[in-house]
Amino acid sequence: NSFTQDLLNRTVSLRVDNVEFKQVLNNLEKAADVKFVYSSKAIQPNRKVSIHATERKLSEVLEMVLRPLQINYQVVGGQIILNSQEIEKINNDNSGINSTISADQTVKGKVTDENGAGLPGANILLKGTSKGVSSNANGEFSITYPSGTNAILVISSVGYITQEVTVGSRTVINISLLTDNKALAEVVVVGYGTQKKSDVTGSIASINDKALKEVPTSNMVSALQGRVAGLEIQRTGSTPGSGNQIRIRGERSINGSNDPLVVLDGIPFEGGNLNDINPNDIASIDVLKDASATAIYGSRGANGVILVTTKRGKSGETKVSYNGYHGITNIISKYPVYNATQYQAMRNLSVYSSGYLAPELESIATGRTTDWQDLMYKSGYITDHNITASGGKDDNLFTIGGGYFKETTVLPGQDFERFTLKASTDTKIGKRLKIGLSTFNTFNTINGQQFVYPMFPILTLSPLMPAYNADGNVIKAPAGNLDDANQYSPLLLNSDPNSWEDKTRRLRTFNNLYGEVQILNNLKYRLNIGADFSFQENAQFQKADSYFRAGQTSFASMNNAKSYSLLMEHLLYFDKTIGKHKFGFTGLWSVQKSQTYNTYTKGENLAADFIQYYDLSQASSNTLMNGSESSRGLISTMARVNYAYDDRYLITLTGRQDESSVLAVGRKAIFYPAVSLGWNISNEAFLKNNEIVSNLKLRAGTGTTANQSIGPYSTLGGVVPYLFQGSSRIPIKYNFGNTVVSGYNVNALPDANLTWESTVGKNIGLDFGLLNDRITGSVDYYSQYTKGVLYGVTLPPTSGITGQYLTNIGEMSNYGMEFSLSSVNVQSASGFKWSTDFNLSFNRNKLEKLDGSVTQNIANSLHVGYPLTAIYDYKKIGIWQLNEADVAAKYNSVPGQIKLEDINNDGKITDADRSVIGNSQANWQGGMTNRFSYKNFELSVVAFVRMGGTLVSALHQPLSTYATILDGRRNQLAVNYWTPSNPTNDFPMPSASISPILSAGSTLGYYDASFIKIRSINLAYNLPESLLKTVKMSNVKLYVTATNPFILFAPYLDKGGIDPEPSGQGSSGLVGGGPGNISSRNLNVRLTTPSTKGIIFGANISF
């Protein structure tokens, strides 16, 4: 009846370890306001049990506690009557098997956990009989069985995987039980709530804090790389504090953002700066991948959702823990550049006709050389320290913690530093009211990220030029040609560190307050208030006539950006179980408002250097001030209904309506529906208790989501007082004599029809568990079709409009598969364990349609039928060889120059010979984490694989970085260039003009992007319990980690690259805006601080 169901649906939290069973029953009586009735003889109330349950239904908790003890329960008139199954069984057993028992044999043993600690209260059952015992406080047991029978012991304990052991002739059997991952991962965060994993119908992947910790890094995203199928993470920079590009199941937007929504403890983490989250605070990360899972986030869900759950206080004694590490980092390798001899050989071959400078001639005579890389690179370090205290009584829980992180790198002045402070409380007031608060506060500083850093001179200064004077001072302008008189020595950055400052300081406070009222036992109201404020200051200073201001006056600038976001959510939860029917409802009404604005000011020629950027009124020339503002608001209504029949058939219906300020009046509201189905096949009679298949679930869903990345005011058009030069915003000014005037220009056309891109996604997936979930995994296939793709059309110049025109015209598709598997490969009685997490996925992105019949928009790098990252260029087919001189001449070329494919065979190389020659999409990617443990030792190895795709090495594109220009004026990356005696097809002969085709040099920069990297190797030692007891600690783990120790495979490395992972995005920062044949969306490898590898020592200690 319904009263019984209400009773069983009451929510309880209980966490006890190794206490008597009757104590557990007492606790449950208080927590759930129920009464147990039992006979002591039947249930052995003194045996010890452990149970961990947070916010679980009473029925689930009873299941967890009672099933291993083989106790059945029955609700009668508000009381719960407990009965031993053994007694029931005997009563039900009419065949009288027990009567055949003759002489007994005894087997003894010990049940231990993975770390070898004795496991009290484990159940040891003689298979096929009703006979069983429990282990004692040390995990020891003794059980008798009839001699002559083929005895099999079934060993079980709550939270561990049940094992069967054949006794054979043994009299002592020690068993190590494995943690039941299924049990631990049972709860999944699904957005606006949690769900039992077996009830989930969408595609959701989870990763816990333990796995995150295996890759020590400043940013949780880096630790996620290669860990979750379908979550693609690529680096966008190699300096400390630089970011990552995150993609869930590909890209759906051309102009809009493809970044997923990050939600921290239920509140959207706007602005996406994930450096603001201390990875140490994270308890788990759940990734919502398919439309049926993300539809509850409506207009923000199209790119997937990453739900971050932080650690909160747990009931019990106050625990204090310290987690920290410190490590040294060094470059993974130097960039290969020419040594002095090779440089001379190249230069003498080139067209550069100016002679060697006097110091160079001196070097040639004396054999002196300079290795600029050796002079510049130093060791860096990475350090991280966190202290957390948490605990409290049942109705008043807390966590407080603080962290400090700093990472430097191999070049001076580049570092990232972060202080974090976190607190959370959860307080129960009476039986029905609960309130809580969490606050995350971050202050971080990134140095040396904005300025164009000196990799170019480090690699291109002449190895024949000395770095220091006879008196030991740095030579100011050591370039090997007079044209680079303004190229100052990068060593000045070391010798004169006060000459520059490039500092980004950021303060963020992210707060979440909630109140919860249990209106009825199955009806709950919750109010969330989110308040997010950040302040970021980018301060720059360059001393007069210093490295960054060669021959110029001083420069300083200050950019202050503020942003805030306020969110209010009203949520209603309702749950009801009627017999085999289980209903759930979640309703939401929310309103959010956010604003960001900034003030920028700069000036030159400051009155004194010590002023730096602190008083820009003392700048006497070229002072400038500007600002910007954008606000957006969102009002949402959402409902989700879950229904399950008999835990076998599941359905979830979701609908959300968003109304947004950024859309035109009359078009502000959009509705997003989704439906998903689940079938727990393993709960069907034919699979129940199957010995091989322990879990099997089929999921299917479809839904609509949208991309909210329309900028505020986009529908209004705009007339602005500035224009863009590359990425710099330049105010429109003119002067009539000494009178300076300002101008305005059209930068955007109004589009009242502008609406969000909408994506319809379909997903079908299978979750499986084999051999009692010793092997678990899932396979998903998905497809997505996006319509109304936002597209910033670059109109032809003759339209008179310079800015891009944003409109919804394109269509795009993505499909792919994801496969993940976790298995315990070896689990020996001696305590050795080897387990593996493996994932593999691929995504195929295709631009289906542009405006009308347009199949190609070259200016915007869009090619219908190809992925968004298509690369459109000439095709290099080699270098013209000596015996091809005649043919080369027809193409206006000569042997030694780049040979391009004449695609249309018209006998000349023209723009018509460009085609899509590749894209950046991986054929497949994945990761593998292997974990080994033996006694107190643990070893984990995290590997990351990306196969296929085209790597764009701006490094090797002569006009992108000038690092392989082969013009002889400077040193450069060592490449294999053609000479009559070296008929290679790699690089052309040194020459000022590489090819008759202006841009064909870009074809030298395309490589196979495949690689296999070991991200980390982590060796840990857990101090034994005996020792811990004497030092009064509950856990001490010491570890050493090698980060980025090896690149196992990467064809690019053989071609002169040092790291196949991208180090930049788009074309900004490249000379002349880059090659122009890749879109600004593509990632590429460019001249940046070399990647580092490190050795890290760390400790996790808790009291």
Partner: protein, 583 residues
């Protein structure tokens, strides 16, 4: 609900142009847009290389866009051709907005006539820069001919056989309006547009049309009338020839009476000049003319001592993009004695100077190095002799008469055929000392129109009208002035004036073009001068004035439509929009 309303704080809508402030802001933007066409590398390359006046220096050869334009091995992706094409239309659109919205804007009639006049002059000049490079170009940007376009059009309205005719008509209509509505004179010390500027350009446009396929019978007469109106009313228009040709392009004297209109910049003010980084920007709106003509003066040494181990502000950064042809140096400026214009146009003498700060060790080393050569600051460092004979006689001096400085004979100077020394006389009209650094771009205004050209336009039109006598008279005004040098005795001056006079018998189109080089050398007009008069091939390849031009064909009278335009347009059969020869 108010959460869903938008109130932008930092941008206006297009309606802003319907206010008087907005109207001015549009025309100011259009003025500023002219910086793209006068000063940055693309504009300089388009206007100067591949002519009889200039070819490319060694670094010009290494710069693809310079070499391509200098050898007529030209592709539609050349960056320089994108300069007027990519920039002018958006400014034309702003001019359209001003012309279209002005009638409804609340503003007094005089001010309104002036701002519309400015917009129409600028629109005509933007169109002229397009037409002279590309032939017929769209008048319809998407909302109709000469209409302000606020619709996202990706059409390319270039077809239509009468388009070129319409282009010229639009320019002439605009300039007639401007010449009737702008103020008579520009304000002193400012280059705001005036009637005289409009008349100058009107004369030039009539003249160009007179040579074109859409010529009209009255064109030469109209060109003559417009020019004569200026010459006959100099006082009214506040313009006059300066006494000394050398003062016309002198830094600090940029606002002199002879200059009718310049695209402005102001020294040391990067914000006002819209320059992001003065020491590294070559493109966008910079004026890099101060560095583009410079030869490699740093390479000159004596006894192992470099005269310029560090660059100096006066001579700038030796970018060696443009190299005067031997025809310019030897033929056009054959008379370097009676005619002062060579010495005021080219730098042939370099003086000992340094950028090192006095009191530093570098400075002291430099001074002592120079002292070891017997030189002090301000002494001649090296000299590019005008003839072999002079060089030979100077080098022959010995003993105390021997020159302490280095002398180069013409045969020792750099050409693309003679790479002995990386030294040649460099155009000095754009030299700019008033900069923060020797690398920096210039803060000087860039001359667009000066009175002397009006004399040349009038003379050319007179010649076409059969009045060679008058043509000679007009040119002799300039040649008389060209004799002037400071501190000459009047007898000496008169003797030189007499030598400079020409007669009607020498007047023909080639002579006029020669004279234009002497008067206007390097002033970013030469390529159009040759192309629009049909003299490009004759005076580069045929006459051999520019030995680097060997492959030129008739289709090179127009540049290719930039690839970026064709890539972005949504029309089918894109090649129909491309100019012949580049398809």
């Amino acid at each position: 609900r108010e959460v869903l309303e938008e109130t932008p704080r930092t941008a206006f809508t297009i309606d802003y142009f319907k206010t008087s402030d907005g109207l001015y802001s549009a025309v100011y933007t259009a003025y500023a847009g002219m910086r793209y066409d006068f000063g940055p590398q693309g504009a300089l390359i388009l206007a100067n290389v591949g002519t009889d006046e200039f070819s490319f220096g060694d670094q010009g050869a290494a710069t693809d866009q310079t070499r391509e334009l200098g050898t007529y091995n030209l592709s539609p992706t050349n960056g320089a051709i994108g300069t007027p094409w990519g920039r002018n239309y958006s400014n034309i659109n702003l001019c359209n907005a001003v012309v279209e919205f002005a009638p409804s804007v609340s503003l007094d009639a005089t001010s309104k006539a002036r701002v519309v006049g400015e917009a129409r002059y600028l629109r005509a000049l933007y169109y002229l820069l397009l037409v002279q490079n590309f032939g017929a170009v769209p008048l319809d940007l998407g909302s109709g001919e000469l209409k302000f376009n606020a619709t996202p059009s990706c059409k390319f309205n270039r077809l239509g056989t009468d388009l070129l005719e319409k282009n010229y008509k639009a320019m002439i209509d605009d300039l007639i309006f401007a010449s009737e509505n702008l103020p008579d004179q520009r304000p002193a010390g400012e280059f705001r547009l005036s009637k005289v500027a409009a008349l100058h350009l009107l004369s030039r446009v009539y003249l160009y049309r007179a040579y074109s396929t859409v010529k009209q019978a009255s064109d030469f007469q109209n060109a003559y009338n417009a020019a004569k109106q200026v010459i006959d009313n100099k006082a009214k228009f506040g313009v006059d020839l300066l006494q000394d040709y050398g003062d016309v392009h002198k830094e600090g004297n940029d606002y002199n009476k002879e200059v009718i209109f310049s695209i402005e910049r102001t020294p040391l003010n990067n914000i006002a000049n819209e320059v992001n980084n003065p020491s590294t920007d070559f493109a966008e709106k910079v004026n890099i003319s101060c560095n583009f003509f410079v030869s490699n003066y740093q390479s000159v040494t004596k006894s192992g001592k470099a005269f310029f181990p560090v660059r100096v502000l006066q001579y700038g950064r030796p970018l060696r993009q443009f190299l005067p042809t031997r025809w310019t140096l030897d033929v056009a400026f054959a008379d370097k004695f009676n005619d002062s214009r060579f010495m005021h146009t080219f730098r042939d003498t370099y003086y000992v100077a340094t950028f090192y700060t006095k009191g530093t060790a570098d400075y002291d080393t430099y001074v002592s190095n120079m002292a070891s050569l017997g030189l002090t600051l301000g002494d001649t460092a090296f000299y590019l002799a005008p003839t072999e004979e002079i060089a030979k006689s100077m080098k022959a001096l010995t003993g105390s008469a021997a020159k302490k400085y280095v002398v180069f004979a013409p045969s020792e100077m750099y050409t693309n055929q003679n790479r002995v020394n990386n030294i040649y006389p460099a155009l000095k009209k754009y030299e700019a000392v008033n900069r923060a650094n020797f690398q920096d771009v210039s803060g000087r205004p860039f001359v667009v129109a000066k009175l002397s050209e009006v004399y040349l336009l009038a003379a050319e039109a007179a010649m076409a009208l059969g009045k060679n006598d008058e043509a000679a008279q007009l040119i002799n005004v300039l040649r008389t002035r060209a004799a002037y040098r400071p501190n000459l005795t009047s007898a000496d001056l008169n003797a030189r004036i007499a030598k400079n006079q020409i007669t009607a018998s020498v007047i023909n189109l080639d002579f006029i073009l020669d004279e234009r080089t002497r008067e206007l050398c390097g002033e970013s007009i030469r390529w159009a001068d040759l192309a629009l008069r049909g003299k490009l091939i004759d005076r580069t390849k045929t006459k051999g004035y520019n030995p680097d031009v060997t492959t030129i064909s008739n289709f090179h009278y127009l540049r290719p439509i930039p690839q970026s335009q064709l890539d972005a347009t949504c029309e089918e059969n894109k090649s129909q929009f491309q100019n012949e020869g580049y398809k």
